[in-house]
Symmetry: D2
Subunit: 464 residues, 4 copies
């Protein structure tokens, strides 16, 4: 069979079925599409059907598919220095690290450095290395509902047992703490009344007696070296915490010398309207981990920023870690252009405005459909929690149906055949986590909401 | 400070010193260069000094810097589908997996599938997942001198204690077995006389009694699930094993149901004159891990191929693992073009020829300089072991000096100012591991050897 | 120095200071005594001062010091078969295992077997072995406030971080769950109002979503193999749970195939008025662990009973575990006589009566002294929680003072110089855990309470 | 069924079959005996058949069964202070610790302290605690063929995989090193020619390069905290090392700051003709672990001695560890009398003499029977390795047959019906490990050897 023959959908799916591992997430979908091109907020399949994408590669393509400016920067690098071993320097690496560190200094008033790697999970592992070296502790706190990646180190601090189950014993399994998920309050309180942060008080109580298992109060030494957080839980369902939660949490951590590691892999780079989501919550993290949108998806480069005391050459000296592609020139060039683009934009204004508009439309929808249990958003990180008609019991069936209806590319809203790309998350797999392009227009939002409503109506029928 | 001002070498190095983590390997060098462009077998610094590169990004850029054909393929993808969430399909992913799996079928007569990830270490972690799931074992065998990456899972099976030391206890530390390193025989035998594989017999003996700690002979159940190998040790110093070693090893592993995982991250894609280095040694691996040269360094995509029985959807079903960038379209497009380029080339002839020529020149050099303890090569994976005048005692000082002399860009061989890029490896950091472009010409090899000799002469003076 | 010279208190303490490890708990006391003889409920020091003992070796000597019947049985064994390798059988071993298993059949209607070891911690490790073999899980649930011993396996499931802290990483650290400690309700509820078991509901909630970190709901597979409990927390402060707690807990465990391991090391053998404390709470454990009072302290023999399906020869075959002294004949003979003594007594009536009387006197005391925050008891396991005058804030200082006053042997209640042996436990080290001889008389209880009051009065003065 | 009825052999075996765990080693034997009494070197079954015992409870009853002096000491303690919580002092504890520490000072010139526990495995765990605390390392070296107990900590450093296999992952699995077992030289050398300690050189070589996996040569920091040894391997088959092996080993350990922990649980208390077996080999251990014969089997008390710098109160302070029965008064009283008995005896002369005589007779036997591959001994620790007629291939079948013939109690040597108690050990379960009473007479040795020969002859017939 020649390559040409192989490109029909049927042929390709036959080959996929035979030669591709199904161990990734492709086969979560009922029917498989093959996508051919992308532009702006749209994906196109082999038949050129247009899919409005509300997830943008789980927030990796914040700046739109095939963003010309970023693509040009990448091509320029291809034409000059496409390859360079990471033990040698090139200017884009230095400039990118400088830009990020200077943002930190300006925003948080703290000096630090950047270390690159590839893939978010590997950056999480680098953060773990810094924590383990600095604190001498192998164990961490992290959140129930949290997700930090799928390497063994990252899986150890990722809450879902399903990810560990097939692979035997995990010796560094984190101590998982309930996340302040107001709509489904871990304390069983009513989401609509004012949150009293009692889950935070429960956490604080752990440090009162050695018998609560985490602290030796005699010397204030905690068994866990750091708390790994997502300021807005991503895979967990774009859950936005109460405004004062992290300030309170940081106070507890500081009291017991526990580091705060801020995982911004999905929320970073203005998804929430700020460079980092944590900037909304009034605390200074000790380590920030980033990836995904750093290159708008053009290269898997990722990285961490850490406070100088954790990463200065005398505590994190040459050879502490290494990855062939860590600061690869194509990745740093794309990343650097992203930062420049950000500097020249005003996302801190436009993203909240767009988010507000998007949420306002969804709120209207919520009033029409009992099945929309909650709509919430921070910038353009937006959640829609699908429920039974009681507005609370998770409705996974409907959520699944809607996702598959969107993917089938047979919607008709807006006068032509279209698809809608939705991503499902949440503790009960009943939350649409919306991550549209930061360049989405009001008109496109209108269309998106209309498509969503069509999908919802069809989903209700299907699952009735 | 503006970006423009930042690009002078002094300014850049000042920023690097302040904002970049030194925890990678950049600061292993005495003096730092900044490279500006690359082409063919050459790197160029800011002053346009030309450096002949004999390491090619540790064998990631096998097909030459700025290879036009591969670069064009990447650009085409940038212009059509630069981004796509990995839960959706695009044809290049399917074609690339198909090509690799079909190569396996043809070469080894075994069916299997490909699973992608980013960065070699993450692919190693995927291999560990498959082994842990299939065998129920957390522990592995691997080689002393072996290197498989720096995530926690990969570090657990990487021999050097220096990599684990700063990070506390490693609960899955591998059982490390001596590698058949003939020049420094673990059995203390003379390298020049015929190897009797006594290190292999020693390994075999471990399975004789439960008291040797790895097997319950009553049910032939081994504590280790797999043996992770590099057929030619890479970081360990491009060490080539005796021809029959792996055949013997596989027999032992098969007898006790231990999987063989073949790490081809550095040796794959014709570095040794064959697609995989293991093809020289007459055994069929259960899992193959690859990365680096898959895209000629244009994208960090990596992957594993595993036998159907280990990776079929019923044993490695959807959701077993995941990475945002695993089968990113830019990576698969570059990878697919690499495979096509390979199919249309005759590397299996040219690489051995070039390697033979290169080694023959180095052998001549060895006769002139007592400090060259050993020269060996498989295809274009070539080792030069630097020693004291006894031709055996490791000479790290000379090796370091030569590496730095090469990097300083002040060689004069060939009539102009030049540099020479050498990579140092080996158990005693006294081995030059040469990985030239597979397109290197005889003339370029002549120049490379001349530059190497100049470097050696200067190194001998410096360290005298 | 001859042995004779060595026996003066000063000499002995000088030797102790020099040659004995201080790593046990001897040096918790401010001043050290040396005890010379014991009888009934009394200890005597070198000057023959009498100490009324309210802890009886943490409940190891339930049947009184120097119990003649038990001592005679031990001596008979010394005169016939004092030694026998545990790979050979002697009748007392078989009879003791039979007696215990038959008690289980009668009480719980469940068949099972007994496995012996020495020391409670080793028996806990045997229970862990059975759980790990049966479930394939290395991880366990256990209670905050729980204590199961100090070997590494037992320490992993013992809550206090202080016990793990000096010894590096613990790869099997349990998932510690709050215990239903009503006086200091983990839910912050008022102890005096009716308990609504909301801590149990919180535990139950963990199983609702994979994101709560312990269950894969798709296949109902839990990451933890068993829940290790003390029905009445011992070291934790003789805390008695709400009547229905364990019934509810067992229901959750059964639903998710989690074993219940009942640690009766301190509460077994009628401390609470029943053979096992768990008999009060209406659930059938899968494994029972016992030790201490099995021999009235005459031999460290311990053991487990497990349900047939967990311990039958086909699942727990010869060689699964071993200990030289596991079923040593002196231990089994003493244990067997204890069981016969129990069979011929009516502890199930007398112990509750005595306990009730004891608690009633303490309740009177509580009304006089604000510092007694709580008095509670189950049989002759009695707790007195010492507080500040608010009756709630833990008062460790007063508790310590009282313990040391009792130990100093200078009380005068009852008309002669006396001491009082008190044991301190509790999450805040402010609880007297009373474990008097099961043969204590009402008169002795009167004396004990009077001595306690004298100690309390002096303690209040000292700490004022 | 009444207890009286239960004492017939059939009834007892029926109960055993139903109510006793088979998970210990009782059911290794083909037919089960029940023993009724013991005296001197003899055990007696229910029919009063006399069994000459050549294993003495795996060397726990060194001083003869029912030793009157020791039994009387135990009874005296029963009559004065049979019970005392270990947080309080009694003189026998202090005196016993003093005696042992003073022996160390005299023999090794080193100050230290004693810490008690119960059961050898728990003492090993205490040694692990000291090593982990002192070195910050969780990992240890120990010997292939070594045995240190069956708690999880002890099993981690015990070589046989069979002991770990049923219980999942062991995160602290030791790095097992070949033991210098000359008869089956790990280096494949001829046992009869002079040993050149090449296995020691192989161990030493591990420290040459970081790539050998255990050392960072840059700072001389080893991944393993201690080497746990048995100077004469016990369960491994009473293997006696070359005279200079441990001196050489200690030199390597000292060079890299690795502690030496000497497990004397089976060889201590004059089994080899000295207090500790290590005293034969010219090295000073950092920690000594002892148990078994400390009380002649009258109580499971065990303990460690450690150098002052490892165990002084400022590094191993109160509360580091704890066990209810650790320094129980019956145990310390028995142990103290054992030490006094030793002081008043001249075992250092008599044991070697008796051992020499015993071995000389066995050597004669060896000349008659090709199946005796090796006879060796140190004091009264004697090994007989049973082989095929080639005098080398392990003969487990014959060994098993002989053990069962001895146990069947139907030998006739010496003019009456007798049995012979033999213990089987060795890497291939083909070694009789003889541990006769230290009081065995020449006449009894004659009888023992005659019984052994009868057993051998019958065994040869049976297995022919």
């Amino acid at each position: 069979m020649t390559l040409h023959q192989m490109t029909s959908k049927d042929n390709l799916l036959a080959l996929e079925s035979k030669y591709c591992s199904w161990g990734d997430t492709v086969h979560y979908a009922k029917e498989l599409n093959i996508f051919k091109r992308a532009e702006g907020i749209y994906l196109y399949d082999q038949d050129d059907v247009e899919y409005l994408d509300l997830q943008m590669w789980y927030s990796a393509a914040n700046f739109g598919y095939k963003n010309q400016r970023l693509n040009e920067a990448l091509k320029r690098q291809i034409d000059t220095l496409p390859q360079l071993a990471c033990q040698y320097l090139h200017e884009e690496k230095i400039q990118l690290a400088t830009k990020i560190s200077q943002h930190m200094e300006k925003t948080f008033g703290v000096k630090g450095r950047v270390h690159f790697n590839v893939g978010g999970a590997a950056a999480i592992e680098d953060a773990l290395k810094i924590v383990r070296k600095h604190t001498g502790k192998n164990l961490m706190f992290s959140f129930m509902g949290g997700y930090h990646g799928r390497t063994f180190g990252a899986t150890s601090i990722t809450s879902s047992y399903r990810y560990r189950e097939p692979f035997g014993h995990f010796s560094e399994r984190a101590n998982f703490i309930p996340y302040p998920y107001q709509f489904r309050c871990p304390e069983g309180k009513d989401a609509k009344t004012c949150c009293d942060l009692s889950c935070l008080k429960r956490f604080e109580k752990l440090f009162e007696s050695e018998y609560y298992s985490v602290l030796n109060p005699k010397n204030n030494n905690c068994e866990m070296g750091a708390f790994f957080i997502e300021p807005v839980q991503a895979t967990g369902g774009y859950i936005i915490p109460p405004a004062d939660y992290f300030k309170g949490l940081k106070k507890v951590l500081d009291k017991h010398n526990i580091l705060l590691v801020d995982d911004e892999i999905q929320m970073g780079f203005y998804r929430t309207g700020k460079m980092w989501a944590i900037e909304h919550f009034g605390v200074v993290p000790d380590i920030v981990v980033f990836g995904k949108a750093l290159t708008n998806g053009l290269n898997p480069i990722s990285g961490i920023w850490a406070k100088e005391e954790l990463i200065s050459p005398n505590v994190f000296p040459p050879g502490m870690t290494h990855a062939t592609f860590s600061s690869n020139p194509l990745g740093t060039a794309a990343g650097l252009e992203v930062i420049k683009l950000i500097e020249e934009s005003n996302f801190s204004e436009t993203v909240p405005q767009k988010g507000k508009y998007f949420v306002s439309l969804l709120n209207k929808l919520q009033k029409k459909y009992l099945q929309i249990g909650e709509v919430d958003g921070l910038g353009l990180a937006i959640r829609i929690e699908m429920c039974q008609k009681d507005g609370f019991t998770p409705n996974r069936e409907l959520t699944d149906a809607m996702m598959n209806i969107g993917l089938s590319g047979k919607l008709t809203t807006g006068g032509k055949q279209r698809g809608l790309i939705l991503d499902v998350g949440g503790y009960y797999k009943n939350v649409f986590t919306l991550a549209p392009s930061l360049y989405i227009t009001e008109k496109e939002i209108d269309l998106a909401v209309d498509l969503f409503e069509e999908t919802l109506q069809k989903g209700i029928v299907t699952t009735a």
